[in-house]
């Protein structure tokens, strides 16, 4: 047998095509079946049957009237219509979920208060390490076919393996917000330019005090900049690597401090910073929501002159996940909702700038032709960067242990210095 290179190319192309077709067919056909075993249920029909007529207590942060209303209408009403599930959105401060689950576990409660929770990476790690989550389930619900589990940003939440215990539903990416009335149309998109701008315009820049998560992610960007990229921080925490880069980061942050807001004597909270940006007390704010600026303009919180940018070297992105606690009285209902929020129907509302204006954790290519056309036709607010521009600049989060070390180091070397 002789294989010339042409034939190899042909065979390769055919194989590739058939795999792609199979994947595509699989994605369309498997939508109503479990892909693997979830604890307690043999089939998706069984899950749906158990979920029908039940109430799901979904704990989430409750401080945004927009998210509250959107969840009630676009998720609550739809799961009622489609599956007969009543969604009880429990508004809360974000830090209380873990205490609730830990306390229930300590007292041996088998029927807890939470069915589903929108949870951050740190809390996920705490609960997963204590073995207090239901699962594995997230890789096996029907719409999990849309999720690219090979993507490290979906397979890991702040470096902690998801392993089927969390399901993604939204994507977040860090952006800088600036007031064109103070900064002009050309924002400083490198740390060198930003530093020069801060020196030329003292008092107009600041960042939230760590361990605030917005302040924390800003300082992570300084680490990436000093190290020339995110690579050194993606693996397990390494004290030697940390000591190699940290002094330069602290030195840089201390060097800009005299020119920060109030001479760097104090650092604001993230929400206060947004309000200071709105009132021209500072020229920049920052955060994980690329469309927050557009939403705030629409709600009258920001003036029309606010725009956003990402650094030329990229900005950190991560995903929003939901998890189910070990003692959820209704894991079936929780899975049905987690499954619904990965559906094409919901994700289309999620990415619509006129509706949710979020980013999707799912590549649009896995959804239908109509989905992609609808997305292509959506008009972005001038304060929001395009999903393509954001995706091109996306950087991974470091492992969670780095975050802890960075926060402790900042407090010791910058705040108390």
């Amino acid at each position: 047998m002789v294989f010339n290179s042409k034939r190899i190319k042909l065979i390769f192309a055919i194989t590739l095509l058939s795999i792609l077709t199979l994947v595509a067919i699989g994605a369309v056909m498997a939508q109503d079946e479990l892909i693997g075993e979830v604890p307690g249920f043999a089939s998706w029909e069984e899950v749906l049957a158990a979920a029908e007529g039940t109430t799901v207590n979904w704990w989430m942060w409750g401080g945004s009237d927009k998210i509250n209303t959107d969840v009630d209408t676009d998720i609550g009403q739809r799961v009622q219509e489609l599956y007969g599930i009543t969604l009880n959105r429990v508004p809360n401060g974000a830090e209380l979920f873990v205490d609730q689950v830990l306390n229930e576990a300590a007292a041996g409660v088998e029927q807890g208060a939470i069915d589903l929770m929108w949870i951050n990476g740190e809390n996920f790690k705490t609960l997963a390490e204590a073995d207090l989550l239901y699962g594995p389930w997230s890789e096996f619900i029907p719409n999990a076919v849309y999720v690219d589990w090979a993507d490290p940003a979906l397979a890991y939440d702040f470096g902690y393996p998801v392993n089927g215990y969390e399901s993604p539903w939204g994507h977040a990416q860090f952006v800088m917000e600036y007031n064109t009335a103070l900064v002009g149309e050309e924002p400083p998109t490198t740390f060198e330019d930003l530093t020069a701008w801060i020196e030329a315009n003292p008092g107009l820049f600041t960042y939230p005090a760590l361990p605030d998560f917005t302040g924390s992610v800003f300082v992570r960007h300084v680490f990436y900049w000093v190290a020339g990229g995110p690579e050194p921080f993606l693996g397990e925490f390494d004290q030697e690597v940390f000591d190699q880069y940290a002094p330069a980061v602290w030195e840089y942050l201390n060097s800009i401090e005299p020119n920060l807001w109030r001479g760097g004597e104090t650092y604001p909270e993230a929400t206060v910073m947004d309000s200071m940006l709105a009132n021209q007390e500072i020229a920049f704010s920052m955060g994980y929501g690329p469309a927050d600026a557009a939403n705030n303009i629409a709600q009258g919180i920001y003036p029309d002159t606010i725009r956003t940018f990402v650094f030329d070297t990229g900005t950190i992105s991560n995903n929003n996940f939901v998890a189910i606690p070990f003692n959820s009285p209704n894991p079936a209902g929780a899975m049905v909702i987690a499954n619904y929020i990965l559906s094409e129907e919901f994700q289309l509302k999620l990415v619509d700038p006129a509706k949710w204006a979020w980013l999707s954790p799912i590549s649009p290519a896995v959804y239908s032709e109509e989905f992609q056309q609808a997305v292509a036709g959506m008009e972005l607010h001038p304060a929001t960067l395009s999903p393509t521009a954001l995706a091109a600049a996306a950087l991974p989060e470091p492992n969670g242990d780095w975050v802890t070390a960075i926060e402790a180091g900042w407090i010791k070397n910058v705040l108390e210095n």
Binding site: D65, N92, G93, E104, A113, Q299, G300, I301
Partner: protein, 267 residues
């Protein structure tokens, strides 16, 4: 002279209450209010629309807060009234310790005791229930009920009750016709205090109510930490409305030369 003083006091109270509320009212109607504008440049009712929409859960939270506060008032009276009377009118062994124990919840932060109680309540199946939340509110409420009522009772002689009894009145009649009218102004003030303390509970409600008992502070708190000041202001106004009504009511009581003010300094 005394009249002038009284008027000054009234003006001070009115200003103290009204001044912080005025910006809240403006904020709740503001759509755009940015520095350096003295007043909002755009107005809107959207925050009030949100307050009364089901998604905000403000109405639901208001009703839950009201029901719990009223229930807590009833429990406080049942526990606090006999305790206050016993302390004020009788001397007994260990009285000092009991007085001190009744005041402990004022000294010990609520979060400390609630964290301990949480585990116990979970075992008793009292978490996430109306009763459980009411019981945990009772802890910070009882000292105020007792504090006020002890001062009322120590200014109150039992002579009238004795007279009624010698004339043949039974214990219930004595209580309804003699005791209650005598202590009523003081009891109302104490009940108002109790109501407001229960009304303002956040962390105890969240811990024991497990997020399922949604009271007004539970709805309000995430907004205070957000940046939509219009929504926060509108919900705050709904939150302070009963407090202001209560203040107006009690200040009338306090202004009269009633038994309430009498021995206030005793404890």
């Amino acid at each position: 002279m005394q009249r002038t003083f009284r008027w000054l006091a009234v003006i001070a109270i009115v200003l103290g209450v009204a001044l912080p509320v005025i910006p809240q009212i403006i904020w709740s109607l503001a759509h755009r209010w940015l520095f350096p504008a003295l007043l909002p440049t755009e107005w809107s009712m959207s925050s009030w629309e949100y307050v009364f929409s089901p998604s905000s859960r403000v109405v639901e939270g208001f009703m839950n807060s009201l029901e719990i506060a009223v229930f807590v008032c009833i429990l406080s009276i049942l526990v606090g009234l006999p305790a206050a009377r016993a302390i004020a009118l009788n001397d007994f062994k260990g009285k000092g310790i009991i007085e001190w124990l009744l005041m402990v919840p004022i000294i010990v932060p609520g979060i400390v005791s609630t964290l301990g109680i949480h585990q116990l309540f979970i075992r008793l199946h009292l978490t996430n229930t109306f009763i459980g939340v009411s019981l945990v509110h009772l802890i910070p409420c009882i000292p105020y009920m007792v504090l006020v009522m002890v001062s009322v009772f120590s200014n109150y002689g039992t002579e009238l009750e004795d007279t009624a009894r010698t004339l043949g009145a039974g214990p219930i009649r004595v209580f309804l016709n003699v005791t209650l009218p005598g202590i009523l102004p003081g009891l109302m003030v104490a009940t108002m205090f109790t109501f407001l303390i229960s009304w303002g509970q956040y962390i105890t409600t969240v811990l024991i109510g497990g997020g399922t008992i949604v009271t007004l502070p539970v709805v309000l708190f995430p907004f205070i930490t957000g940046i939509n000041y219009s929504n926060a202001a509108a919900i705050s106004l709904v939150f302070v409305a009963p407090a202001i009504l209560v203040l107006i009511f009690t200040s009338r009581q306090l202004g009269q030369d009633s038994a309430v003010m009498g021995g206030f300094g005793r404890l």
